[in-house]
Amino acid sequence: MLKLKKFRTLVGQSAQVSTQSQEVRVFQRRLWFAVSGMVLLALLLVIRLILLQVIHHDHYTTLSQENRLKVLPIPPTRGLVYSRNGVLLADNRPSFALEVVPERVPALDQALTELGKIIPLDDDQLERFDTERSEKRRFDAVSLKINLTEEEVAIFEANRYRFPGFDIKARLTRYYPLGSQLAHVVGYVGRINVDELNEIDEGDYSGTTHIGKEGVEKAREAVLHGTAGYEQVEVNAQGRILRVVERVAPVPGKDVHLTIDTDLQAAAINALKGQRGAIVAIEPATGAVLAFVSNPAFDPNEFVNGISAKLYAEWRNSPDRPLVNRALQGLYPPGSTVKPAMSIAGLHFGVRTPGDTVWCPGWLQLPGQDHKYRCWQKQGHGTVDLMRSIAESCDVYYYALARDLGIDRMHEILSQFGFGKLTGIDLPGELGGLLPSREWKKRVRKMPWFPGETLINGIGQGFMLATPLQLAHMATILANRGEVLVPRVVAELEDPLTHVVEPIAPFNRPAVEVANAAHWRPAIDGMHEVVQGSHGTARATGAGAAYQYAGKTGTAQLFTIAQDHTVKNQNVTKLLRDHALFIAFAPLEQPEIAVGIIIENGESGSHTAAPIARELFDFYLKQKPPEDDAHS
């Protein structure tokens, strides 16, 4: 066959004609085949139509006449959200909404003008109405005004005959009693948008108007929503409902109990005194998040029924950025808070022993370089061993340690402390920060790794970025001496009907690999010295505590100070001042709480961030009754 074709093309014109005619013959056979196929399929259609319209006609006529039954969806009641100490965080409240079915309104614009005369409608509401209308089908109800007052309901009822296609619907609206306090944890619900429509089960959401957009509301949408029920109703020829034939009750969503302690949360917010920043407190034994603050926050209630464009713009453009979840998504250089983890890396790889000392003259130079890597202490620390290096936060010790470890080994250990990857918290939108490596720099920056960068990263500056949650997570790992528990905000789910409780078990990740368990001791002792030793950077805040605890200060530089120049912080505008960082856990043995704190432009970890940790520890360890252990 193949040979024959080649032969034909070689022979030329006459053969060309014969392939041409063969081609046409094949085509005609195929076309007749297709025509027979079409006839056959058309016959199938006709047979099916005869079956429906002639043979089973009586059956379908009966069904059609009895087809006074309509199926109406019943949306399930959304599960509630409670705090660890039983405070209601997300509630469902009855409210009245004015809805319109555009198809049934003869002259919509005119009707809206008329309605505006008896019930005030502002531009925002009309704009939102138009947007929603364009996304829906003509016969779907579109909400025009939500949260009508009882007076407005009465006025409308009296005038309803003038407005065909308009109707008042009573329904449940989500309400967050604590407002902004837990906005960044609980999140909020909002109207279902077109992208979400694509992802959800249409049947299950056919009566539902709202869906979780942020926070726990989004993360736990599946359990909070529940399952829709439906009602078969009998309607008359005009479509009016006569009676309910069958009712399948919806299954309400489960209540979600959080690990957050609202008292501690409030204490943390108060302690910030309005400063921009974030605080995350975690229970080391379980990974339960006790407080999760991102300040300032916003009132989630504004989002439930659509936020006004003006307020949204105001929040979006505010320099304080209340909409940003700093604890989850704010990226800051971790600064000196990495030093305990660095010291453990030094011991693990045998580069240092706890007693090894480094001479700190206030700077360190790499061979063959003029650049002086400076210690924060200009005049130097003198002889520094491991514990002192943490207690007094000596930069030179860590420049030298980083130089001796190299970036690869630093990356290996710091990665195990959770840097550069997601902690896995059960909240949407977490960022993993950045833990640089040779491979990363080659891939992203298209540059080789320079030795000087190793030094800078050794004190948590340079490329390194971490979220406040990651700092708290690292504090938890230190408190647990290497055990890694995934942080979580949901403690348990409860069925609102049967009250069956389904606890969420703590989830472990592989522990930090340290050659010898004794390597934790010097680092933790050093952290203890920071707050309660004679020379610690935050000794002023640790004094007089009724318990032993451990901490580490840090400063995240935003502003690079030129060589041999000192800039007084007073002269730097507030927004360029350094961020103050602090990680801590308490008590020293069997820790019950670990925290990560960032105060934006707070300048000094020891003066602004460390006192907050002390305040929280005093509050939490004192008020916590011993039998509460059973709950967590």
């Binding site: 076309l31 058309a42 259609l45 089973h56 059609s64 087809n67 198809e103 959800i200 439906y230």
Partner: protein, 366 residues
């Protein structure tokens, strides 16, 4: 019977009488049932009528362009359309799906271009090749068809994807694709189906299960299929009469002006009405087959045959869906369903058929 001068006039204008007549007949039936399906909205009927006029104008316009020129432009549209599909894939917005491209003056669906660009480009590519095609050629055409088809499928718009791929694969079929290849494709499809099932997400599986057993999902698609079958069945021989369909007036029928308009038609005009519209479609299809048979080059043959059979696929998939024989995929009933995009594409397709028919070098009257 038309007079010779009329025939000359139509021929000079490159218009094909039977196609034009068939299309107008179906359009008129469409407007009649649309008036009922839209809840007697004259506004909707007028709007659709204007779209039909626009479509007829597009048809006549395209008919003036010679097939040679059409075949040269096809790849340009194909490349453009595929690029736009990528753009939509990345940035598209739309009613729950990523199929519209928002432009400053118009909302635009690139997948619609591909319904014509894919078969035209495949035919253009095969035109100067030795037919039946051999392996490398087949592979090129397959990629040409499956790439845009796949992009449309992930939008997700299964209905349009089916039409695009059907149009392209039909070109390959008419070019004489070896039956062995077809057998291999069918068998591998059967083998791959269970694998695809495991790769699907839960809610996607749920949707397929609903198609198999409509009663399982009383709130969703299952309810619609049952209601649609009741509408068709209760129509009987002669129907309940125009404007008297209770299923549609009591709003039991979903999408009754668009995808399910055939159910309204069946309910109001009965089996007799159905036979009338089937005859009207058959007229157009038969003329398409005739044009394919008398086309004078491979491009003309392949395009005419593919467009004709694709029109049949259109009709069959929509009617099959309405009478509960096929799964619910979003395919409108050609020239009848409310909406402008597919209407213009279909009319353009008719215009291409006319161009193939009226630009022949030696017109032999049969």
């Amino acid at each position: 019977m038309r007079t010779a001068s009329e025939r000359d006039l139509l021929a000079r204008l490159h218009i094909d009488g039977p196609l034009l007549g068939g299309a107008i007949l179906i359009c008129v039936l469409g407007l009649v049932v649309l008036y009922s399906a839209s809840g007697q909205s004259l506004e909707v009927v007028v709007r659709q009528g204007l779209r039909m006029l626009l479509g007829l104008a597009a048809m006549c316009g395209i008919a003036q362009i010679s097939p040679l020129r059409i075949s040269r432009w096809a790849p340009v549209f194909y490349v453009l359309g595929t690029l736009l599909l990528f753009v939509v894939f990345l940035f598209g917005t739309g009613r729950g799906t990523h199929r519209w491209l928002e432009m400053s003056f118009i909302r635009f669906q690139p997948s619609e271009i591909m319904k014509l660009a894919v078969p035209l480009t495949a035919a253009w590519f095969l035109n100067d090749k030795l037919l039946p095609p051999r392996f490398p050629i087949i592979a090129v055409v397959l990629v040409m068809v499956l790439l845009p088809g796949g992009l449309v499928m992930v939008q997700p718009d299964l209905g349009t994807a089916i039409l695009i791929m059907a149009a392209g694969l039909l070109v390959l079929f008419f070019a004489g694709l070896n039956w062995r290849w077809i057998a291999v494709a069918v068998i591998s499809g059967v083998v791959l189906a269970p694998i695809a099932w495991y790769a699907m997400r839960d809610y996607q599986r749920q949707r397929i299960l609903t198609l198999l057993d409509p009663e399982k999902d009383p709130l969703g698609a299952g309810y619609h299929i049952i209601q649609s079958m009741i509408a068709v069945g209760s129509g009987g021989w002669s129907g309940k009469g125009w404007l008297n369909g209770t299923q549609s007036y009591l709003e039991f029928l979903p999408e009754r002006a668009t995808d399910f308009i055939f159910a309204v038609y069946c309910e109001e005009f009965g089996l007799i009405g159905v036979l009338v519209i089937l005859v009207a479609y058959s007229l157009v299809l038969a003329r398409g087959v005739q044009i394919a048979l008398s086309a004078q080059d491979a491009f003309g043959r392949l395009v005419a045959a593919s467009l004709t059979v694709t029109l049949f696929v259109y009709i069959f998939v929509n009617m099959g869906m309405v009478i509960g024989q096929l799964p619910v995929v979003g395919v409108p009933l050609p020239l009848v369903s409310y909406g402008g995009t597919s209407l213009v594409t279909l009319m353009t397709g008719f215009g291409i058929l006319m161009s193939i028919q009226t630009h022949r070098r030696f017109i032999v009257e049969s």
